[in-house]
C-alpha cells in the first residue's frame, strides 16, 4: 500500500504495490539463470563472436577521428564511441586513452575552460597507434596511456577540477 513518508510530502509505493518485471514465483529461477556458469559462459561466447566486427568498427572510428581535424565536438563524440567499445573489441589500451581524452574534455567544458589542442592531438595519435598496434606494441601503449592519464590529471588540477 502507498504511504506517506514521515518527513516529506512524498508518497512511497512499495514493490508489492506495482507490477514487477518477474513474479516472486519466477524470481528464484531468474536468479539461478543469472548466476549460472553455463549461462555466463554462453553470454561471454556470444559477445566474443562480435569482436572482429567491433575491431573493424573501432578502426573506422579511428580514421574518422584522424579526419576530424580541430572539430572538438566530433573528436569528443568519436572518442566516446571508441571508449565505449574498445574493450569489447580487445583494444583496451585505445579505450583507456579515449576515456582519458573524454574525461579531460568533459571536465574542461564543465569548468568553462578551453581545452589545450596539444593534449587533444597527443591523445588522438595515441588512440590511433594503440588501435593499430600489433600485440608487441601493446605494452608501449600501456605506458603511453599511463603518461597521458598523468598529464590530464595535472592539467585538470591546474584548471581547478577536483
Amino acid at each position: 500500500m502507498a504511504r506517506q513518508t514521515s518527513d516529506t510530502d512524498a508518497e512511497l509505493i512499495e514493490p508489492e504495490d506495482y507490477p514487477q518485471m518477474v513474479s516472486k514465483r519466477d524470481s528464484l529461477r531468474c536468479m539461478q539463470t543469472l548466476q549460472s556458469d553455463r549461462v555466463v559462459l554462453k553470454a561471454k561466447t556470444a559477445m566474443a563472436s562480435y569482436t572482429p566486427m567491433l575491431r573493424d568498427a573501432i578502426l573506422e572510428y579511428v580514421e574518422a577521428l584522424e579526419e576530424a581535424g580541430a572539430d572538438l565536438t566530433q573528436i569528443f563524440a568519436i572518442s566516446h564511441e571508441i571508449r565505449n567499445f574498445a574493450a569489447n573489441a580487445g583494444m583496451g589500451t585505445a579505450g583507456r586513452v579515449a576515456e582519458n581524452l573524454c574525461r579531460y574534455m568533459d571536465e574542461m567544458e564543465r569548468v568553462k575552460k578551453p581545452v589545450d589542442p596539444a593534449i587533444v592531438t597527443l591523445h588522438v595519435a595515441a588512440i590511433a597507434r594503440a588501435a593499430r598496434a600489433e600485440e608487441d606494441d601493446a605494452k608501449m601503449g600501456d605506458v603511453v596511456s599511463g603518461e597521458l592519464n598523468a598529464l590530464v590529471k595535472r592539467r585538470l588540477n591546474d584548471a581547478g577540477v577536483r
Binding site: L12, Q20, C30, M47, Y50, A57, H80, E81, R110
Partner: protein, 169 residues
C-alpha cells in the same frame, strides 16, 4: 527447466547498432528473445506504447531525444504506458554529474560502458531480487534514490522506518 525470462519483452533504445547487437546477444543468452530495438528516444516511446516491454535498456547520449528525456517521459508523462517499468541506463558518461542526472530522471539501474555480461546480469539481478519502492513527490517520480545508507552518518534517524534496519546486539 526454463530460466524464468522467456516470457519477458525487452526494449533496447540505443543509437549505436553495435551496442544494440551486443545487448541483444546478452539478453538472448538469459532467454529473452522478444526484443524490440529503437535507435533514439522518440522511436523508443512509440515502441513502448505498441509493445509494452517488461524491461527497458536505454543509452544516455542520443540525438533527437536522449535517454534522460526518454526516462522522464516514461516516468512522468500522463500518456506513459508503464511508469514503473525498470529502466537500465547504459552510458559511457560516468562522471558524477551525469550519474546524478540519470538518477534524478528516474532510472532504475545504471550500467557503465564498456559493458560486460557480469555487469548487465548484476543490474538485472538487482531488479529481480531487490525491487525498489517508488517515490512520488512534487519534483520527482521514480525508484527510491536512497538506495544506500550514508556511510559514517551519525545524525538522527530521518524516518521511523529506518529503525527497522537497526541491529541491536
Amino acid at each position: 527447466m526454463s530460466g524464468g525470462f522467456e516470457y519477458l519483452k525487452a526494449l533496447i533504445v540505443e543509437d549505436n547498432s553495435h551496442m544494440r547487437s551486443l545487448l541483444r546477444a546478452l539478453l538472448n543468452s538469459i532467454g529473452i528473445t522478444d526484443i524490440t530495438e529503437a535507435n533514439q528516444g522518440k522511436a523508443g516511446i512509440e515502441t513502448l506504447r505498441l509493445r509494452r516491454p517488461d524491461l527497458v535498456l536505454t543509452d544516455l547520449a542520443m540525438k533527437q531525444m536522449d535517454g534522460l528525456e526518454f526516462t522522464r517521459y516514461v516516468r512522468n508523462d500522463p500518456n506513459s504506458p508503464n511508469p514503473f517499468v525498470p529502466i537500465i541506463m547504459i552510458t559511457g558518461h560516468t562522471e558524477k554529474h551525469h550519474v546524478e542526472a540519470a538518477r534524478d530522471a528516474g532510472v532504475t539501474e545504471l550500467l557503465a560502458k564498456p559493458i560486460t555480461a557480469a555487469n548487465l546480469f548484476a543490474r538485472i539481478a538487482e531488479i529481480v531480487e531487490r525491487p525498489r519502492a517508488f517515490v512520488r513527490c512534487g519534483t520527482y517520480f521514480g525508484p527510491d534514490r536512497r538506495r544506500h545508507p550514508a556511510e559514517g552518518y551519525s545524525g538522527p534517524w530521518r524516518r521511523a522506518e529506518d529503525m527497522e534496519d537497526v541491529e541491536v546486539s
